[in-house]
Each structure stands twice: as C-alpha cells, then as structure tokens.
Assembly symmetry: none
Homo-oligomer: 240 residues x 2
DNA sequence: AGATCTTGTTCACATCCTGTTTACACAATT
DNA sequence: AATTGTGTAAACAGGATGTGAACAAGATCT
C-alpha cells in the first residue's frame, strides 16, 4: 500500500493567508512534494488548527485581517519553537527583518520560487524534528491501563509489555481512541485507515476489530473496550 | 558539563571566504554582537579550525580557491549537522538553490544587510543549540552492551572490540540511536544520512540496515535492536 | 597517472507479512 | 422462525522486506 505509506510519512504544513490565490499556490507546491497541507485564513483559524493537529511548519502571511502576522508570530513563539516562514509582499522590507528578529526562521517574497521554497522548508523541518527529540512525550493516550504512543507507533500493556500492532490495527485503534464515545460506522473507519469506499460485503473492519480485541481485551468474547453497536458500527468506550 | 559551557561561552562563528574584505566585514558584524569569530581562507584552513574548535555556525563563501563552497558543504554535511549559511554573489542564483538542496540552511547575498544577517544567524544558532542539547549531553550512547562514540565515530562491542562502520552505517545508526523508540521512515532516514529524495524503489536503506544488523545483532535474522515496522520503516528499540 | 580498495547504490529473487476475502457458526432483531 | 448482522478461523494475493551479488563513482595508495 504505497499510498498509505506516503500518508504516514507526511509532514504537516499549515498555510495561514487570507488571500486564496496565495494559499492555493503554496498548498499546491507542498502537496505535489508529498506534504500534507492545512489552511487557515486568519489567526483564529490558525489557533484552531494548531490545537488540533501536530504541525511541522507554518507559512505565515505578514498581512492578515484581525491580528497581523507579526502579532501571531510573537504569540506562537511564546509557547512553541515550531518552524515559521513568513510570507511577505515586496513592500514589507522592514517588517521582514522585524519578523526575523522576533524569531521567524525565514521569509519568502511573492512571487515564490518553488524550488527554493521547498528546499528551505525541507531543511527547516529537518531542524525542528531534530530539536523535538527530548520534548515530544505528549502524544500518548491512555485507557484502562494501556498506553498508545502515537509517535512511536507503540502500544504498551498495563503490565508494561510492548504489544506489536500491524499498521492496520494501529490505525484503527488510533482512529477509535481519538473519538472516544463516538460510534463510528465501518464506512467511517475504512475511510480513515485506508481511504477506501465501503461496500456491504466488506468484512475487513470486522476482522481487524477482532484481531485488535484479541490483543487488548481481557476477555475478547465479551469486549469491554471496543464495543459493537449492532447495525451501526463500533465505539471505543473504555471503563474509566 | 558541556551544556553549561555551551550556554555561558561565546558562540563561535567560522567565516570561510578568500576575499579579505568580505571576511573582515562579516567578522566585524558578529564581533560587535558579542560572537567569537574564526576565519579561514579556504577548505584546508576550514577543516583545520573545525577539527580544533567547537563551531556553532559557518558562513561559507560559495566561490573559493581549491574545493569550492558547494563541495565543502557536501563534505561537511556528510558528518555534521552544524548550521551553515552560504555567502553568494549576485550571479550565483542556481548555485544558491543547489546549496539549499544540499543541506545549507540559508544564504546571504553581497552586499550584506547586517541586521538581517544577524537575525538569521541568531535564529539558526538557537535551532542548532536546541538540537544539540538532546544529543550531546553524552557523546557516547550505550545499548545492549554496545557503545557508540559520536565524536570518534566508533562503535565498541560488548566484548570491547572496535567494530568498523562505514560512513553510511554510522550515520544510520546515529540517527536511529538519537531517536530511540521512534519509528523512522526510509524517507526520513535517507534525508538524514544523505539529503536525498526517497522513491518507492530505493532499497538503499534496507541494504544498509541489513549490513548494520549483521554487525551488531546477535541473531541478524531475528533482530532485537533494530526492528522493522512493516509498511512504515525502522525503529531502534534495544532490550532494556 | 594507474591500480586497488572502499562504499553507497542497484538489481534480482526468495521469503515474509498483512489486508482482504471466503465461509460458516452464532447472535440480534423483527 | 426468518432474516439480517457479527465473530472468527482459514486461505489468499500482492506488496514489503531480507539479502547475496554486481556495479560504479570516489577515495586511497603506489
């Protein structure tokens, strides 16, 4: 499944720009290079994305409605060391330098040189990944004594054992864990783990759920963590 | 106490440029800002300094007598992730981009804008310091009886034997060791060890992993230190 | 300069892994 | 009871991985 593999390896880039043309242009560059791109039109949307996703790089327009780019830059730097590249117009000379002094890693000027932009982005992402080595223990979900480490793709049992999950099992469990208490249809699940249409004869999800249960449920025949909702789908609902 | 030393001591910048005027100009900028500046006129002098001093940032002229800047850049990147800013003339457009793609962090064009140059340098030094805190608080990593000496580029077996690693094997092992428990894709790994794009048919990493396993695993067929994560990549996960 | 060695990369093929399908037993709902 | 949905063992197929061998570009030595 080369598609899925690509997705797993994708770095996420957030483009913050109120001008749709710029946004689309930038998104296009990055997407063809295999990055995943999120978009935001202003500061508010930007924060919403940052709170939800793990972003590796921000392309931040210096001119924005509401809080402008420099303000947002300052606020981000208060709490994060994420890579930031400012997007500037030709007339923003002074602001560019101010941005660098406020901790922006770089800036680009419209119109963009795609090749240069991509090379810079890649180098910056490599640097930020490096610096995260010590600090990234945050991406862990626990339930009923189990711990699921998203970045390490590891599941640790209550006894501390490393339980190996296949890619599909891991994706499935992650999806369920991220939506505790919400019932997900097979259609949903299949879409999340392999971007595929579900048809009524497709039993893939059922089989994967079964294998998952045998690995994490105390009594797989009477599941306590992943429950079946007859006629609908499955729901992740560990007892607290 | 390398960390404390790092923070308290002046940051050292190495300026590599055959043109004395440029060198003096750059050195002046940095010195007034409180940096310590070393100078080199060509590749040979550069290596001499690098072998003797702990440098935090290199300003590297792209045009040099003997080995040119791009060659030196490539050679440095073979063994170090230090911050590098290329110094270029107005006519070096293509080389600038090539340099970025070879792993240079940035470039500046003569004539320099002092304020911008300093801001960029400061940000870059911050990033490289960050990434080094995690990896350099002990320049020797041990696992399952093995010892990997980062500075000497040496691997010592549990029996005390010196096991020779090629450059690629060493870089690969270092990269993995620095990110214990984190799954790295072939894409990631290839980028770290040779700044190259990975395509789905590229088996380089697999072969190198295999050779590494045959050197350090007790039973290379059933690896215990470097594990395969099917469909994703590899993870360094020594038994505790 | 030429010869030799080193080493990253490519190729080819065997083997393994894992998502999917199939089949059938059982459970839930009507 | 009939119908539909779910659990799960077993088999399958195609992609992913392991690996020996060959290759080529650099580095090193003579």
């Amino acid at each position: 499944m080369p598609i899925k593999q690509k997705i797993l390896a994708k770095q996420k880039i957030l483009v913050v720009d109120d001008d749709m043309t710029s946004r689309v242009t930038l998104a296009g560059y990055f997407e063809t290079e295999g990055y995943e791109v999120c978009e935001a039109e202003d500061g508010e949307q930007m924060w919403a994305v940052l709170n939800q996703e793990t972003i590796n790089l921000i392309m931040l327009d210096i001119r924005l409605p509401g809080d402008d780019g420099l303000t947002l830059l300052r606020d981000i730097r208060k709490s994060s060391d994420i890579g930031i590249i400012m997007v500037t117009g030709k007339s923003d000379e002074i602001d560019r330098i101010v941005a660098l002094e406020m901790g922006a890693d770089d800036y680009v000027t419209k119109p963009f040189n795609a090749r240069e932009l991509l090379a810079r982005s890649k180098n910056l992402i490599r640097r930020t990944l490096n610096s995260k080595v010590g600090e990234e223990d945050d991406d862990v979900k626990t339930f009923s004594g189990w711990s699921l480490y998203a970045d390490q793709r590891r599941l640790i049992s209550p006894e501390g054992e490393d339980v190996r999950l296949t890619r599909g099992e891991f994706e499935l469990l992650s999806t369920l864990v991220q939506r505790v208490g919400r019932v997900l249809t097979r259609d949903n699940l299949l879409d999340y783990i392999s971007h595929r249409e579900w048809d009524p004869n497709d039993r893939t999800i059922d089989v994967l759920i079964g294998r998952l249960r045998r690995k994490i449920e105390q009594d797989p025949q009477n599941p306590n963590i992943i429950l079946t909702v007859h006629g609908v789908g499955y729901v992740f609902s560990p007892r607290q």
